[in-house]
């Protein structure tokens, strides 16, 4: 491990030397195959899919399936997020198929197509906290309860926030973005077809408690911890100001590692499970740079 000097020394360092030191420290946490996240994404999907036959055949009661399904939706985004940043493998590498497999499959419970998530997420990184260009800016809120309220309001049929990803894809205008738009349409129609089909064949409660309601709860959770909390108050601009470190009331696992999301924005190719270690290694540098590290 590279030794990092104290904050006072770092503040007095030549900017170029500080940049080089920061990059060298960060580089130590990149590389290798993130097997844990890949298994998480595919295993989580397998559990969620198994809930359907298990409840329909009466093997698992619905009251037990509902919290499992809710957890599945809450858990399904991050493995795909790793794929969006090519953490498992890059184009041209032998395991790129695994990257794409996890990317495409893991967010099925969330009804968020991989390419839509990838392209809009890159725009979020490029324009974090920009009121016009950040596709996730609608989660900007005054506090946790305001975020929960806004998350529900943003999902109403006439809400402007509901079209943010579509508008981002239209603004990009590339063939890739157009294809992603079609995938979003197909996913939405497929989701509704399953809900309607299940409901009219006597399985409305299963559809409601394994997909519809868990998805609403999961979206609120994901917006809370993956979008709102790390960027609050949502006004900072620039590499060291647009994302913060924070101490979560539900701990690092309960917030799915998002306490250290600042590391992800600085170095998106550091795997999620290494961001806590990378944070502690980089913390003096972040402090010297004036980052918002709250009480963490």
């Amino acid at each position: 491990m590279i030794a990092v000097p104290d904050v006072a020394t770092l503040r007095a360092m030549d900017p170029k030397a500080l940049n080089r030191l920061e990059k060298d420290v960060a580089d130590q946490f990149m590389g290798g195959l993130a097997w844990g996240s890949a298994l998480w994404g595919l295993g989580n999907l397998a559990v969620w899919l198994s809930l359907w036959p298990l409840t329909i055949m009466g093997i698992l009661p619905l009251w037990a399936a509902f919290p499992i399904a809710t957890l599945n939706v809450m858990l399904c985004y991050l493995p795909s997020h790793e794929a969006q940043h090519r953490i498992y493998a890059r184009e041209g590498e032998p395991l790129f198929w695994l990257n794409e497999l996890v990317g495409y499959l893991s967010t099925i419970p969330l009804v968020l197509p991989y390419q839509v998530a990838r392209l809009t997420h890159y725009e979020h990184h490029t324009h974090t906290n920009d009121p016009e260009l950040d596709p996730d800016i609608a989660t900007k809120s005054n506090g946790p309860w305001h975020l929960i309220f806004k998350s529900i309001v943003n999902r109403q049929p006439g809400a402007k926030a509901g079209s943010a990803y579509g508008e981002t894809l239209a603004r990009l205008g590339t063939p890739e973005a157009q294809a992603a738009g079609l995938q979003a349409l197909a996913a939405q129609l497929g989701y509704l077809a399953v809900l309607f089909g299940m409901a009219w064949t006597g399985h409305a409660l299963e559809a409601a408690l394994i997909w519809w309601l868990p998805r609403h709860i999961g979206v609120t959770y994901i917006q809370f911890y993956l979008s709102w909390a790390p960027h609050h108050p949502g006004t900072g601009k620039g590499r060291y100001k647009d994302t913060r470190a924070f101490r979560s009331a539900v701990g690092n696992i309960g917030s799915m590692g998002m306490q250290f999301h600042i590391i992800h924005h600085l170095y998106p190719r550091i795997p999620l499970m290494r961001t806590p270690a990378a944070y502690w290694a980089l913390r003096p540098i972040l402090e010297a740079r004036g980052c918002d590290l709250e009480r963490l």
Binding site: P157, G158, A199, G202, A204, L205
Partner: protein
Amino acid sequence: MRKVLGGLFKVMPLLFGLGFLAPLIAQVLTLTGWALPGGVAPLAVGLAIGGIWGGVATLTGRWL
């Protein structure tokens, strides 16, 4: 195609009310064993509530 899909999504809350909420309400009523006045079928109640709620959501742009 774009027009058809655009129109479909404009009335999606109404379709959701009839296509999903109606049978869901009917199934809940049946499971809870509520005796409806006049022997009204649970599905009729579901269609009425789901249709009205979905219709209002289509017009106002809000479910709540």
